[in-house]
């Protein structure tokens, strides 16, 4: 069967196998029919109706049937409040679909943002590598957009089916927003497909205009959907009885703008990480050095986008938390001090991993540059800083312990570790983490370069001074927070954050001028990265995805037994807050489903680069749409 005739033999076998199977199936159907006929229900013999006497029972049965029919006809329509989804229940079903929809939507909204920016860089510099890179990112969008729409439709229908009364209420509040949403969605499809299929077909400025339109429309769609979601958490613009007073106030509720900002930044971070994972996947499968170099560069850009957006994300998170507290202290305290507080320990583990992985990738990246790199000696100090901050951030305020351990500690708070479990310590840790990661990036950026400007020494000193000043401010305010009242302590996070932001902006500004015309000590060799670096990129994408799922749960679960907080109460069987363990299992299943689907997107996208199918392997293989013409047709078309 393995020789050259194997194929022919197989075809013969198939030829025989088909009719034989048909005969067997026909015989099986006859047999099943005869069996069923034998077991068919047969009425017992009864005397003809005319001969039988009417019995009181028969009259009673008829009367009962008629009464039931009359009652059924008179039943008024009643609105169903809830319907049950089989096996997993309505909440988990909606949860999973909503999360998948959001993950794909985040990806579809994020990729055009950095694809557009990269395309602009390519246009300005005239470097076609950027154009190719932007196109490579955009190739991921087409299928993802379809999946986003599919999950969006599934979510809408499931809400109508499973939560009809609540959905009806939301529709009554936000009815003026739905048609604009649909219109924007149509424009989104128009811009996305024209942007993708029109690559290289229009004047670059026209194409950039399409990209800009795509991003504006995408952001508009996100903001409308955010209004619906945030209204559920912090309702506004309605009367005591829930009637709509002002649609604009309902849209512009307490958490709308913070969520807009937070999601916009988080989407970029998430999209960058998934695009980086795609590049890593392609790098691992690359067969040539050229491919490896390209995908290494693409992975680096994806990761750069992800981490650049990730660094300011905690600040957007502060803003969101502040507005949640401003809307309702109870809601804020439920989030940070109540049922959800332990989720932030899980979050700390995730973010700590992200920082560690991002730094590790940058340190590995230093190896791309030829020759020995003296800056690599600082890595161990950075690693120590990242690790200590990670440990502080992941330290809970209360320790899970046995009764005897609790007695020994004098409570659930550890006498020493307890000091690291409060916000003063955590704020300090996260700010130092951000500074350290920023430092890693700076070291990577200047690997293989020596500043050549006359003021190089002063520039380095100024950068060091700003960095040290920011670190001292952050740590000092963190320590000071232990000795002041809550009213003062809450306000300390603002100068901490401001000093870190100032340091990042000012040091970057100095660095740009400092390394202008720098002397090179070694060339960057794209593609000269160990395989482990690509797995790090994939790990970052998984962690970002999981983090998005977890934070989505916190945002939504915060309402506890309310559909719309304080207005529409959840009276379904799911009106309770599940354990964190259960929530994390749902998040994990959804993340796995997402990666299964995004793997499909990657595979589908990679088909674009594969040669067309050919019946005979001895002919040269051509790629569809490449403009290449088979030799036998070359004469007819006049092209070769």
């Amino acid at each position: 069967m393995m020789n050259g005739n194997g194929g022919t033999l197989n075809r013969k076998m198939l030829f025989i196998f088909g009719p034989v199977t048909g005969v067997v199936m026909f015989a099986a159907v006859i047999w099943m029919a005869s069996q069923l006929m034998n077991r068919e229900y047969k009425e017992p013999y009864r005397a003809p109706a005319s001969a039988a006497d009417a019995t009181p029972r028969e009259a009673g049965v008829n009367a009962e049937r008629a009464a039931a029919e009359t009652k059924a006809k008179a039943t008024p329509y009643a609105e169903v409040e809830y319907r049950a989804f089989p096996v997993v229940g309505s909440r988990v079903a909606i949860w999973a679909v909503a999360e998948l929809h959001l993950l794909f939507a985040a990806f579809v909204l994020a990729v055009p943002i950095f694809a557009f920016i990269i395309e602009v860089i390519g246009y300005k510099t005239g470097d076609m590598r950027y154009d190719r890179l932007a196109y490579e990112f955009t190739k991921l969008l087409s299928t993802s957009f379809s999946l986003t729409a599919t999950f969006g439709a599934a979510l809408t229908f499931m809400l109508i089916i499973l939560y009809p009364k609540f959905t009806n209420y939301l529709m009554s509040v936000f009815s003026p927003t739905f048609l604009p949403y649909i219109l924007l969605f149509f424009f989104e499809a128009f811009f996305l497909y024209t942007y993708y299929y029109g690559w290289g077909k229009f004047h670059p400025l026209v194409h950039l205009g399409l990209g800009l339109g795509l991003n504006l429309v995408g952001t508009g769609i996100m903001m409308i959907a955010n209004a619906w979601v945030t209204f559920m958490t912090s309702p506004a613009g309605i009367s005591d009885q829930g009637a709509v007073l002002s649609v604009w106030d309902a849209i512009y509720n307490y958490t709308w703008m913070p969520i807009n900002i937070h999601r916009f930044i988080a989407n970029i971070a998430f999209g960058g990480s998934v695009a980086g994972a795609y590049a890593a996947f392609k790098f691992l499968q690359a067969e040539t050095d050229e491919e490896r170099a390209h995908y290494d560069w693409m992975g680096y850009i994806g990761n750069f986008v992800a981490i650049s957006a990730f660094l300011p994300l905690p600040f957007a998170g502060y803003y969101l938390a502040k507005e949640i507290y401003a809307f309702s202290q109870t809601l804020g305290l439920t989030m940070m001090g109540g049922a959800f507080s332990w989720l932030f320990i899980v979050q700390a583990v995730l973010i700590g991993n992200l920082f560690l992985a991002a730094n590790y990738y940058l340190w590995l990246g230093m190896g791309r540059v030829e020759g020995r790199q003296p800056l690599q000696r600082f890595i161990k100090y950075l690693l120590a800083g990242v690790t200590i901050c990670f440990m502080v951030w992941a330290t809970p305020r209360s320790i899970i312990a046995t009764v005897s351990e609790l007695r020994a500690m004098g409570g659930s708070t550890h006498p020493i570790l307890g000091y690291f479990g409060v916000m003063s310590a955590k704020n300090t840790a996260v700010n130092i983490l951000i500074l350290t990661t920023f430092m890693s990036f700076l070291l990577y950026r200047r690997t293989g370069k020596i500043a050549a400007v006359t003021w190089a020494k002063k520039g380095h000193a100024a950068q060091l001074l700003i960095f040290a000043a920011a670190a001292i401010i952050v740590v000092s305010l963190g320590v000071y927070g232990y000795f002041v009242e809550a009213t003062v302590r809450i306000g300390l996070s603002v100068p901490q954050v401001s000093s870190v932001l100032f340091a990042m902006v000012s040091i970057t500004a100095i660095d740009i001028f400092l390394f202008r015309g720098a002397n090179k000590t070694g060339e960057v060799q794209w593609g000269k990265m160990p395989a482990v670096s690509q797995y790090v990129l994939i790990f970052i994408a998984v962690t970002f995805t999981w983090l998005m799922g977890l934070m989505g749960y916190i945002r939504s679960g915060l309402r506890q037994h309310w559909h719309v907080y304080g207005v529409i109460r959840d009276t379904s069987v799911d009106a309770f807050t599940p354990t964190i363990g259960f929530a994390t299992r749902v998040v994990s299943v959804t993340v796995l489903l997402f990666f299964l689907l995004i793997g499909f997107v990657f595979w589908l996208t990679s088909l674009h680069d594969k040669p067309d199918f050919e019946r005979q392997t001895n002919k040269p293989r051509l790629r569809h749409g490449s403009g290449e013409v088979p030799p036998e047709l070359a004469g007819e078309t006049g092209r070769a």
Binding site: P235, F281, T334, I400, T543, V567, F576, R585, L592
Partner: protein, 229 residues
């Protein structure tokens, strides 16, 4: 044997997801159920009201989400409630402890304890939505923290007058506010008719008005119905 990269990638995704799931199982696991409805009989004694009040404060009222009891060392986000009745009698001139407690619950922004930020919600409206009878029980319990409980289900406050009872300050309304704490409310009025607690979701809450975009902490404090005591 070399494991193909796609399989390695799949394994990495599984292991990373599994690790985070494992971390999620390591933290305390607690299912939070919706608050139970408390049925208050019309003929509750003050002692029984204290027990009901304590139960409400621990559960439906969510009081101990923010307040502490017996915490001696800071930091305090909200006032500790140990000995609160003693302080309540002296907080505002002319106010009895019952008046003060009622105001803190129905109108929490009317007075903010120095050193603290506003933050307490209006307790008789959703999402907490205690009934007037439940609030009287809570006041009875609060009186035990440093004092002696005196309220009954017939005690009138500025915000609530039980059926058949005279409003506070009216002739024959029973003890004046200042005396209410010491002598208790007049038990001569007929018991309130049943008055079981209504579902907190039954009365939609007034949404706090949105302050200016990007509300500053100061502005947030000034906005009505957002703060607390």
């Amino acid at each position: 044997m070399t494991i193909p990269h796609p399989l390695r990638v799949a394994a990495l995704v599984f292991v990373a997801t599994g690790f985070y799931t494992y971390v999620g199982q390591m933290v305390p696991q607690k299912e939070v159920l919706p608050p139970q409805e408390t049925v208050i009989a019309a003929n509750l004694t003050t002692d029984e009201m204290v027990k009901v009040g304590q139960e409400i404060m621990n559960g439906k009222g969510l009081c101990f989400t923010c307040h502490t009891l017996g915490k001696t060392e800071g930091p305090f986000r909200f006032p500790d409630l140990s000995g609160v009745d003693t302080r309540a009698k002296m907080r505002k001139p002319g106010y009895s402890d019952v008046d003060y407690f009622a105001e803190t619950i129905y109108e929490p922004n009317a007075f903010i304890v120095p050193g603290f930020n506003p933050g307490m919600p209006v307790i008789n409206k959703p999402p907490i939505g205690l009934t007037d009878q439940e609030i009287l029980c809570v006041i009875a319990y609060l009186q035990t923290l440093g004092g002696t409980p005196t309220v009954t289900l017939q005690t009138s406050t500025k915000y609530y007058t039980p059926a058949g009872a005279a409003p506070p300050g009216a002739p024959g309304a029973g003890p004046a506010p200042a005396a209410a704490s010491g002598a208790g409310a007049a038990p001569t009025a007929p018991p309130a008719a049943g008055a079981p607690a209504t579902a907190p979701g039954g009365t939609p809450a007034a949404a706090p008005p949105k302050a200016a975009p990007g509300t500053t902490p100061a502005a947030a404090q000034a906005a009505p119905a957002k703060g607390t005591r």
